[in-house]
């Protein structure tokens, strides 16, 4: 295995920590240098970030519709607190 592809493997294993900003500074600097030189890894990093972003943007709001909330409150005998 070439040194270049070893670095690609290393990036793959550290990818979550890297995009979450939780990678050790030294390793982070190494990977950023590698990403500058490696088109494929740069695309993987960017498309991974974008994939997560798209899921977060399309995530429905954390709110119950009125009828789901009402049925829940009745089920829990909390109907006195329905407003």
């Amino acid at each position: 295995m070439s040194e270049h592809s070893q670095q690609c493997q290393q990036l793959l294993g550290s990818l979550s920590d890297y995009i979450d900003g939780e990678l050790q500074a030294e390793l982070c600097a190494e990977l950023e240098q590698h990403i500058q030189d490696c088109d494929n890894c740069r695309i993987v990093v960017n498309t991974l970030r974008k994939t997560i972003e798209l899921y977060q943007q399309s995530n429905p709001p954390a709110e119950l519709s009125g009828d789901v909330r009402e049925r829940l409150f009745f089920k829990l005998h909390l109907e006195d607190f329905l407003k």
Partner: protein
């Protein structure tokens, strides 16, 4: 969530405090159940069962995790029980995983980030995203939902799922790479369609 909730009041049987707890957390619990199950009626059943169980076992809650993490844990267990009833062959959240493509060979390398936002978030693309997340193994989907959609930390996710932090990290990476691959194939196809026109 839960800034205004007193655990002591809830444990003492204060129904108004419990109603506030339900109002502050139920949207998140319902959304998690919906993402795991992909069905609104099943998600509502899990929602109701979660709070019934929580109410009946409040005395046992020792506060080793936050109240919201505890509720997430109850909801996830309920949702996964329902999944197992529907698909007895599906694996549980604490079982091992096949090592799918550990070397990253066969990864889709297409730079689709430049597509316009309108195309990335079109109704067709959203349906694809929903389907791709439902196609993930349950053991990966729950980790992705808790960490990336609900925004829990690795530690909170591990508490909610009863997994070690290293296990959560491994599953999170696989879930993310799996979704990136599916989404890249999808948008790569869209880019090819565009270029043929």
């Amino acid at each position: 969530m839960l800034d205004s909730i007193s655990l002591e009041e809830i444990k003492a049987g204060d129904r108004e405090a419990f109603a506030r707890l339900v109002d502050d957390t139920s949207g998140h619990i319902y959304r998690v159940a919906l993402q795991i199950l992909g069905d609104a009626q099943d998600a509502e059943d899990v929602l109701q069962e979660t709070y019934l169980k929580a109410f009946n076992s409040l005395a046992d809650f020792e506060g080793r995790s936050s109240l919201s993490t505890w509720l997430y844990r109850i909801a996830i267990n309920e949702a996964l029980m329902l999944v197992r009833k529907r698909k007895p062959q599906s694996i549980s959240v604490d079982e091992g995983l096949a090592d799918d493509d550990p070397n990253g060979e066969g990864m889709e390398i297409v730079n689709w980030c430049c597509l316009p936002e309108g195309e990335l978030l079109s109704s067709e693309a959203r349906r694809f995203l929903d389907q791709a997340i439902q196609n993930l193994p349950d053991s990966l989907r729950v980790v992705f939902v808790m960490r990336d959609l609900e925004g829990l930390s690795i530690q909170e996710t591990s508490q909610a799922l009863g997994l070690s932090e290293s296990n959560v990290k491994t599953r999170l990476l696989r879930a993310r790479l799996n979704l990136r691959q599916e989404v890249s194939v999808y948008f790569g196809g869209k880019m090819q369609e565009e270029s043929r026109r």
